[in-house]
């Protein structure tokens, strides 16, 4: 397996992990927060909210402008 294919596999596993965790978190009585709740938790304080929104703005800049 080439290093490129291995990298793509790792990204795929990470994406699958995020999807799985989010689905598990949506079960009743789950002890896991959903992906959205993670960002809600980070956004509870002003500094966290600024960082989260700043990261969102930077990602748009990175993918669509640069």
């Amino acid at each position: 397996m080439s290093s490129r294919a291995f990298t793509i596999l790792l990204f795929g596993l990470i994406a699958a992990g995020i999807l799985t965790l989010d689905l598990l978190a949506r079960r009743p009585e789950s002890k896991l927060p959903t992906f959205g709740e993670v960002f809600g938790f980070l956004s509870q304080r002003r500094v966290g909210r600024v960082l989260v929104l700043g990261f969102w703005g930077w990602s748009g800049w990175h993918f669509f402008a640069r």
């Binding site: 290093s3 790792l10 002890k31 960002f39 800049w61 993918f63």
Partner: protein, 172 residues
């Protein structure tokens, strides 16, 4: 049946202690009218909100399609990214919408479980980006996405997803 009304339009005998059968009938009729009126108002508000949401998201989809057709490293692409950023930051600061409820109480290990994929992603980005220099053999996420985002519909969809994500973050 005529119900006596106060100058403000309320029934003079609109109270829980009103005693005569006529008072009770008047009170029941007033409650019914209030419930129907408030129900109609709520329905109208819901319809207005729905129309507003459809209009805004339709405009966002058109914007995403236009922005998706712009090439990177151009002034137009920069403006197309800065516009939603400024709008959503402005909404977050000056007119914040009702925020979603705070996260449920979950044990610490619940939060820590998310560190596995997040740190894994960050680690992969750091290793491939800074150590290997993001070459084709060791691509970062953005390098992998470049060929996908060259296709206009995919790029437009990505812009729309990005705007929706921004709106969801503003509501958190």
């Amino acid at each position: 049946m005529i119900c006596p009304l106060a100058p403000d339009g309320r029934d003079r005998r609109f109270s829980a202690t009103a005693g005569s059968p006529r008072d009770r009938r008047c009170r029941d009729r007033r409650v019914t009218i209030d419930l129907v009126t408030s129900g109609e108002n709520a329905l109208e508000r819901t319809r207005a909100n729905t129309r507003w949401a459809v209009a805004v998201w339709s405009a966002a989809a058109v914007f995403a399609w236009v922005a998706g057709g712009l090439e990177s490293f151009t002034a137009a692409a920069e403006v197309a990214v800065l516009l939603p950023v400024l709008v959503l930051f402005g909404i977050a600061v000056f007119a914040p919408p009702p925020r979603k409820p705070a996260p449920r109480q979950v044990p610490l290990r619940g939060w820590l479980a998310w560190l596995v994929p997040i740190l894994g992603f960050c680690g992969l980005e750091v290793v491939n980006g800074f150590i290997f220099g993001s070459v084709p053999a060791h691509p970062t996420w953005s390098i992998l996405m470049d060929p996908v985002l060259e296709w206009h519909p995919a790029r437009a969809a990505a812009v729309l997803i990005w705007i929706v994500a921004g709106w969801e973050l503003v509501r958190r």
